[in-house]
Amino acid sequence: MIKIQKVAVLGSGIMGSGIAAHLANCGIPSLMLDMVPSEATAAAKENAVARNALVAKNKAALLKAKPSPLFKKSNTDLIEIGNFEDDFEKIAECDWIIEAVKEDLAVKQSILQKVDRYRSPHSVVSTNTSGVPLWQICEKSSPELRQHFLGTHFFNPPRYMKLVELIPGPGTSPEIMAAMSAFLENALGKGVVFAKDTPNFIANRILTFYCQYIIRTFTNYGLTVEDVDALTGPLIGHASSATFRTLDLVGIDTFVSVMGNVYQNCLNDERRELFVPTSWMKQMLDQKLFGEKTGAGFYRKSGERDSQGKSIILSLDINTMNYVPQRKKDFPCMTKAKEAKTLEERLQALYFGDDEGSRFLWDVFSRTADYAGRRIPEIADDIVNVDNAVKWGFSWSHGLFETWDILGVRRVCERMEKDGIEPPPIAQEVLSSGCDSFYKREKTKSLFFDMRQKTYAQVPKNPKILQLESQKRAEKVVKENSSCSLIDLGDRILCAEFHSKMNTVDKDVLALLKEATDWINEEKYDGLVIANQGDHFSAGANLNWILGEIMEKNWKKLEQAVQDFQDTNMALRFCRGPVVAAPHHYTFGGGIEITQHAARAVFAAETYGGLVEVGVGVIPGAGGTKEMLRRALMFAPDSVPDVDPFPYVRRAFETIAMAKVSTSGVELIDLGYLTENDVLCLNFDQQVYKAKQVCLGMVIAEYVPPRPAVLRALGESAAAAFRSAVYQFRLGGYASEHDVLIAEHLARVLTGGERPEGSLMSEQDVLDLEREAFCSLCGTEKTVARIQHMLKTGKPLRN
């Protein structure tokens, strides 16, 4: 088994530095090397500053890149830099060497020869090429290197894009492929697909076809650039940048070159002629209309703003090659899709409608699906790898074959035939084998139609992935209501899964959380995991619930609701068995409060969380403020003489008052929401499994719940310091009058009400202050306006 403790990254461009950054995110040190800049080739070897100027510049750029390639800025400490001429021998210390230099065969070959000379035997060597054949790159390499050589094709940006295509070279040992696949999934949190050494591998091969097919056909349907993007974006489960905006981001020049790779090297591709740029694309290249990088592509900013201050963006009219104002059309299929209740209905409406938009979507889908079907086994052994490649590489919600299943294999084939397309062999095989779908689910198993065996085979699964969906299919749900399910995860561990809209917390969620703690206290189960595999962990308390009570002036009920949430959280905190929360993606307000009352959090790498209650005009009322105070005071225990808790409480004050949201999971710790005891989970797919393991570990270690904390009030002087700070914020225009009022309430809770400095408080004392503040703010007009605005627009109102 290989052990990867240090990695060499050769090349520090966007991909090389992005990979090094992500390795650092995962705690893996790297050595990043690049060329000596031409002006420094004569510089003395000792003059590392001059000779490392290029790599140093690229490393520094990581700190400014947006979205940030780093979980936290200090992660760059793990990236050591050097240059190809003076530091190459250092790659001997590395267990994995990634080549990410420019896409030029000769350059890659010469780098690999150097790698051959300096690497340690057994180290893994990979190329991040997106197009150069592996067999050519390693042509001149030693047999030992070839055994350890493979393609690891990351997608940009490496931190955010789940996909890594693994490509075996001509001599790669199967052990290396397996080990690297496990490493990429478990240690770097990536999703691996197995590709073959064919031009553009899987994802880019399919995507170039898809985009180029659109490019060649959209005008036949009378569509404009913006029509295409309106049709091919989130509506069909693709990224919001859809098609042409994506091409602008990628660069038309890059796209044409990637496409050319297919044309030049796939001589037997039945659609080879499609991969030639159209005449107007050539014009775009001539006029340097490359997209984002040259300021104009399919879209261009007009430089003017509309009545709402938004920048006006023009689109390219390919008939005249002029930029013209966008004219967005509404197609009947769009309206129908928006009305659809299920995904199936939505896709049927989009692909099987009879308007131009729908016929266009069908055309693109059927041709792309046909093309993809014919690429098996050329580019991949099976549909799973093809579907995963487009889903993880381009954030498509569904793969082509998954979509095909939803639309109906037979129905799609019949229409294809009507259009004069012969369905690809794999689709014909599905039907002739008496099957009616590419995929099939059986209790906990997921199956796919395997062309090699002409029957269903199990979708390969990492043993560290525990899918709640399959647990549910296996009838492991013990109790459920419309917002939450309690699922038996086995080993006497229970899981509370939210499934309300945006996973907001309402009465039903609280009821089942409470019940779960009761069961554990009664020893029916040993521990609880609070986790879900939705888009977001939780957007916080259900605002409709709160607003309803406010509008009805049910102040008693409102207070009761807050108290119920507080009591449930306290039940989690003092539950006899361990409670492990698994926040991920959006984890706001109540979501953070629940997490803070768990014995431990197993948080996803991509968690964007915070106590954002101020945005809706209140302070955290379900124990979040209390927890922030308790956690702050832990930094200043009584056992440390003369310790000053104030700076820690001030951080809590600022974090809540400014509604700070983390840009990554680990930043939750820096903001004081979580602690170093909480556990980072790099692979989102493995989060539930990992949370269960942590919970189980605590059970094995004879978990004892915490003792209630005794908190020392900071008193009036500290409250005055907060008041003074807020006064300055008001002067500077950072805070509105209502913000000042909210901050006053917050300061009061965090400093102990009117209690004298040093008085002792129980957790319940602080909860009582918190609840009082929350309810008092709910009685103000401006808070109501903030809640209503959030419900209406999803954005906070500054009033």
């Binding site: 003074s724 002067l731 500077g732 225009g733």
Partner: protein, 385 residues
């Protein structure tokens, strides 16, 4: 009243707080270096010194324990030389000089060392633990108005434009860079050997001035203390820099000058303080400046050189405009926007710079004036003998 002479004057070079060369240097060590040098240059036998007075804006932590006494001891002064630390925020350094001069005039002693010190790297502005009076935060919160907000208030209240502020900031850097190039500060700076990242570094040049800054770059900076350019005018570029440094002078009565036989550098003529609205910086200077000039028996027009501390370009320009100062006479070697503003040191540092510049230009009257947090302002007049 009897004349009081400044017979020696020196300062450290000024370091950028938190990221500069002096970021780990203890303020008491910096103060000791300038005290010791001021004493040596004055040729006074140390036991003759009546008192050491040091100003410091946040005299706590590394600046606590009566830093004047600690620094005096660290400078090797005899145990018998008493010491005290005083605080008038940004004017502390000149306040120390004025207090020593007054005590010499009243005959308490005839030789004193006075100055100021601040490490904004080691003791934050606002102190280690800001703890305002709860009643005042409710009834009169403006008492605690942060300096940046005061700077914006001045610009807004008295119509000082962002453009003029950026232009002045640019001028400050230009003048400071030129002064350093021409060695204008060379004689007044006491070089320090400081340990930085395990290496000993000689520090003898002010590190704040930026030769590469431009009006264009300055004009692009966002407001530093406000949410929008409509509310805020002060930026990181047109406000003073946070800094580390120390400065000290040796003062003597005329009699002591004669006895010890030292050549005086300047006369400390007068000193006045005024106070006003705590949410503004500058107006109090307009009261203190004419008062100090009157006490010195001169008119404001007779001033040859002016050091008007650039806490903020807004306050500096406001005072210049209202006092009809000729910009050519003000901050001739650059001000705190370029050279830095080590709070409690600055009043003494500007006095040191003034004494040297009066001699360099063979000029006669010089004014050192500073705004002070809490709505105060001070002014002191120097004369080349």
């Amino acid at each position: 009243m009897d004349d009081v002479f400044i017979v020696s004057a020196c300062r450290t070079a000024v370091g950028k707080a938190k990221k500069g060369t002096l970021r780990y240097t203890r303020p008491d060590d910096m103060a000791a270096a300038v005290i010791s040098e001021a004493v040596a240059r004055s040729t006074v036998p140390p036991e003759r010194i009546g008192e050491v007075i040091m100003g410091c804006a946040f005299p706590e932590a590394a600046q606590g324990m009566n830093i004047a006494r600690i620094a005096g001891m660290a400078a090797g002064l005899p145990d018998t030389v008493s010491a005290m630390t005083i605080n008038r925020f940004c004017a502390s350094g000149i306040e120390a000089i004025a207090l020593a001069a007054a005590r010499i005039q009243t005959g308490m002693y005839d030789v004193a060392v006075a100055g100021g010190v601040e490490s904004m790297s080691l003791v934050p502005m606002g102190g280690c633990r800001f703890s305002p009076n709860p009643r005042l935060t409710k009834e009169k919160p403006q008492v605690y108005t942060a300096m940046g907000n005061c700077g914006d208030n001045v610009a807004r209240t008295f119509n000082i434009t962002r453009e003029s502020m950026d232009e002045w900031a640019y001028e400050s850097h230009q003048r400071a860079v030129k002064a350093i190039q021409q060695g204008a500060f060379k004689d007044q700076i006491v070089p320090l050997d400081v340990t930085l990242d395990g290496r000993v570094v000689r520090f003898d040049t002010d590190e704040g001035p930026r030769p590469d800054t431009s009006i264009e770059a300055l004009s692009k900076l966002p407001p530093a203390f406000a949410a929008s350019p409509k509310l805020g005018f002060c930026t990181a570029g047109n406000s003073s820099q946070t800094s580390d440094g120390a400065a000290a002078v040796c003062l003597m009565s005329a009699k002591a000058v004669k006895e010890i036989g030292v050549q005086p550098l300047a006369l400390f003529r007068s000193y006045r303080v005024a106070a006003g609205d705590p949410s503004l910086l500058g107006p109090a200077q307009l009261v203190a400046i004419p008062a100090a000039c009157e006490a010195a028996g001169i008119s404001v027009e007779e001033l040859d050189l002016i050091e008007n501390n650039e806490a903020f370009a807004s306050q500096c320009l406001y005072v210049m405009r209202e006092m009809h100062f000729d910009p050519k006479k003000v901050n001739v070697n650059g001000g705190a926007i370029a050279l830095g503003h080590p709070l409690g040191c600055t009043g003494a540092k500007l006095s040191v710079q003034m004494v040297y510049e009066l001699n360099a230009r063979q000029a006669r009257y010089g004014l050192v004036t500073l705004c002070v947090g809490g709505g105060m302002g001070v002014a002191g007049v120097f004369e080349r003998p």
